[in-house]
């Protein structure tokens, strides 16, 4: 959003003068009849932490492998730091990759794994040793230098893979589902560690993931992909609050989707969704015309729940509680409308001793402000 004026906000993609590190220009990749990447154009800027997000088979891994040089585009050009990469093999690119399986060399120690790339560059022994020690310190594994990969834990292996990929100080680091093999708690800790390391080294990171939470946490910008195309490329906040399509709204986080048609575009968009009911009011998405079929998208945490009818809000619907989910930090209520659709609503559990206001089968009112929801073209 309008952050380009301030110097302290990192947003080079809003700066027309900023030079991208990676330029992907009209790239298509076909495997036989299958189009894995369909005419993708994208700029990634130095020091960005960029996430490619999408379901499996959406082409995100193929796009990353093209950056690493393991695949070549069928058409289109990828350039890194101003250099066209079409004829540059993987071993000649200033790009390193952290593999999903980590791909640590099982016959080499942690130390030798990290030194592997440096040795290929023909650096002298002292400089290799200094750099390896530096990397071991960065990922806090100095004590494990002599161990073989099978003698350390999964989390430690992940850090060795990271250290090995960073050792050559690449311009671009690619991470393929880097945290996929870790359990949830370790994954969350490691996400912050990754951000920390990215900031310390100032390397541009491109991460591939199918985990939207992970992408939202670590990335400066997220590209949501589907069927080989970029659906939306934006900061996590914008992706979450201003999704440009039902696909993105549905893929990122939890969302209620109510189908209807646009009844008015004066002062926000109004969506007629059920006969005899007041239209829902929300912010209009792009390319809306009156009368067109559309979907109302509203996040569960933006909905308030009450027993009394809230008179001050235009968006209010009555329904019956179908299900209550207690998640600890918040409770989810599934409220069924008389017309059929079920709306999810989340309420934070702020006090420890919970006074249950609502129970199953209760008639309740759900309400939200005029700007809380989005009307998206279908």
């Amino acid at each position: 959003m309008a952050a380009s004026g301030k110097d302290d906000v990192f947003a080079p993609w809003l700066d027309a003068k900023a030079e991208p590190l990676i330029k992907i220009n009209g790239v298509t990749k076909r495997f036989g009849d299958f189009t894995a990447i369909d005419d993708v154009s994208l700029n990634i800027y130095p020091q960005e932490f960029f996430a490619l997000l999408g379901p499996s088979g959406c082409g995100k891994t193929t796009l990353m492998r093209m950056l690493a040089g393991f695949e070549t585009p069928t058409t289109g050009v990828i350039s890194i730091d101003g250099q066209d990469m079409s004829t540059v093999p993987p071993n000649k690119r200033a790009v390193n990759m952290m593999f999903q399986s980590y791909a640590l060399f099982p016959h080499l120690s942690v130390w030798e794994n990290i030194a592997f790339g440096l040795r290929r560059d023909g650096l002298d022994k002292d400089r290799i040793a200094a750099r390896v020690e530096e990397m071991l310190k960065l990922v806090q594994l100095s004590k494990f230098a002599k161990r073989k990969p099978h003698q350390i834990s999964g989390g430690q292996r992940q850090r060795v893979a990271l250290a090995r990929a960073l050792a050559k100080a690449p311009k671009l680091l690619l991470l393929d589902e880097p945290l996929g093999a870790l359990d949830k708690k370790l994954r969350q800790e490691t996400q912050f560690e990754l951000m920390d390391i990215q900031e310390k080294t100032g390397t541009t990171f491109v991460i591939v993931t199918h985990d939207q939470e992970e992408a939202m946490t670590v990335a400066s910008r997220v590209a949501v992909m589907d069927h080989g195309q970029l659906i939306q490329v934006e900061t996590p906040e914008v992706i979450y609050e201003q999704p440009n399509s039902v696909y993105v709204a549905d893929f990122i986080g939890d969302v209620n989707l109510i189908e209807g048609s646009v009844s008015s575009l004066a002062g926000g968009a109004e969506l007629a969704w059920a006969e005899g009911r007041a239209p829902l009011v929300g912010q209009p998405g792009a390319a809306l015309t009156t009368g067109q079929p559309a979907t109302f998208a509203i996040r569960p945490e933006k909905i308030a729940i009450s027993t009394e009818e809230p008179q001050d809000r235009r968006n209010r619907v009555q329904g019956k509680i179908l299900d209550i989910g207690y998640l600890g930090n918040l409770s989810t209520y599934h409220v069924e409308m008389p017309e059929g659709p079920v709306i999810k609503c989340e309420v934070g559990n702020r006090s420890r001793i919970e006074r249950r206001d609502f129970t199953w089968e209760d008639e309740v009112w759900l309400s939200w402000s005029d700007t809380a929801g989005l009307v998206l073209a279908r």
Binding site: N91, V95, N96, M97, F105, H107
Partner: protein
């Protein structure tokens, strides 16, 4: 019940290894005789305790002393070692590329390729060695083919030389080399090679730095599986080799069946076994280390 289960392998070892070994060891300590069986003493339990004492008093190490006095025997051992070593190296040189190609082949082809490697086992080993006589002899298919193409003008003498022995051994034992190497290469994670390339290796460097070290357990296992039976090989040198092909298996055969000197032949066999124990123990240790590394 548990004791019974533990007992099974020991009984197996006792019946199939220790008892035959004991018999051969006993014969090697006996003297040659014109009798059936052709050695003395034989144990006569009818004479009781005195008979057993007399039996043991007649056993001696004479035959082993004899082995050191005739240079035929240690020359045969050395020559067998040499032939086994060279043949193992040749088998490795031929087998590794085949195993590598199989492991790199598309996955749906691999069972068929594996089948092709194993298929020759379905025919008698003896017949296959005889077939090589037909191929390698002076009037054989190989010479006829080479003469026909004009590469040579005189037929090559291959049969009844050490070259024919090497060809026979490489041919016979190739599957024992290919299968363990293939097993290690096939298990190798392909992303390791991509990682090596990503870190600055060329394809050739990645092969030497990653593929070869990771294939080492398979290479070692394959080499032992070829070396151990080759050392005592008898059929191949006697059918394909010449009169100057000196191998201990052949010597052993001649002692038993041509000279009918069972005691000396048994002594030769015991020494051969002792020589083989060293590589067998090394082989077992290699397998053990690999198992531990996998855990």
């Amino acid at each position: 019940m548990r004791r019974l289960l533990v007992a099974v392998p020991y009984v197996w070892l006792l019946v199939l290894f220790l008892v035959p070994f004991g018999i051969v060891l006993k014969i090697s300590l006996s003297d040659i005789a014109l009798a059936i069986p052709p050695y003395t003493p034989t144990l006569d339990l009818a004479e009781g305790w005195a008979g057993i004492r007399a039996f043991f008093s007649q056993l001696d190490l004479e035959n082993y002393v004899f082995l050191t006095s005739d240079d035929l025997y240690w020359k045969a051992y050395l020559s067998s070692l040499q032939i086994a070593l060279i043949a193992t190296a040749c088998t490795l040189l031929v087998g590794f590329p085949i195993a590598y190609g199989m492991a790199r082949a598309p996955e749906e082809w691999r069972p068929a390729l594996l089948m092709l490697v194993i298929l020759p086992f379905w025919t008698s080993f003896l017949i296959r060695v005889y077939a090589w006589i037909g191929i390698l002899s002076t009037e054989g298919f190989l010479n006829q083919f080479l003469l026909w193409t004009g590469i040579i003008s005189e037929p090559l003498t291959i049969l009844n030389t050490n070259t024919a022995v090497y060809i026979g051994i490489v041919y016979t034992y190739l599957p024992f080399m290919i299968l363990p190497i293939y097993a290690t290469l096939e298990r190798m994670d392909a992303s390791l090679l991509e990682a090596a390339e990503d870190l600055g290796c060329s394809r050739v460097q990645a092969f030497w730095l990653i593929t070869v070290p990771l294939a080492r357990p398979g290479v070692i296992a394959g080499c032992f599986l070829v070396f151990i039976p080759t050392l005592g090989e008898f059929v191949i040198p006697s059918l394909l080799g010449g009169s100057d092909t000196l191998m201990i298996g052949k010597v052993l055969w001649e002692e038993f069946f041509n000279n009918r000197d069972w005691p000396v032949a048994s002594a030769v066999a015991i020494i051969l076994l002792l020589i083989l124990i060293i590589p067998i123990i090394l082989f077992q240790r290699n397998q053990q280390i690999n198992k531990e590394a996998e855990q």
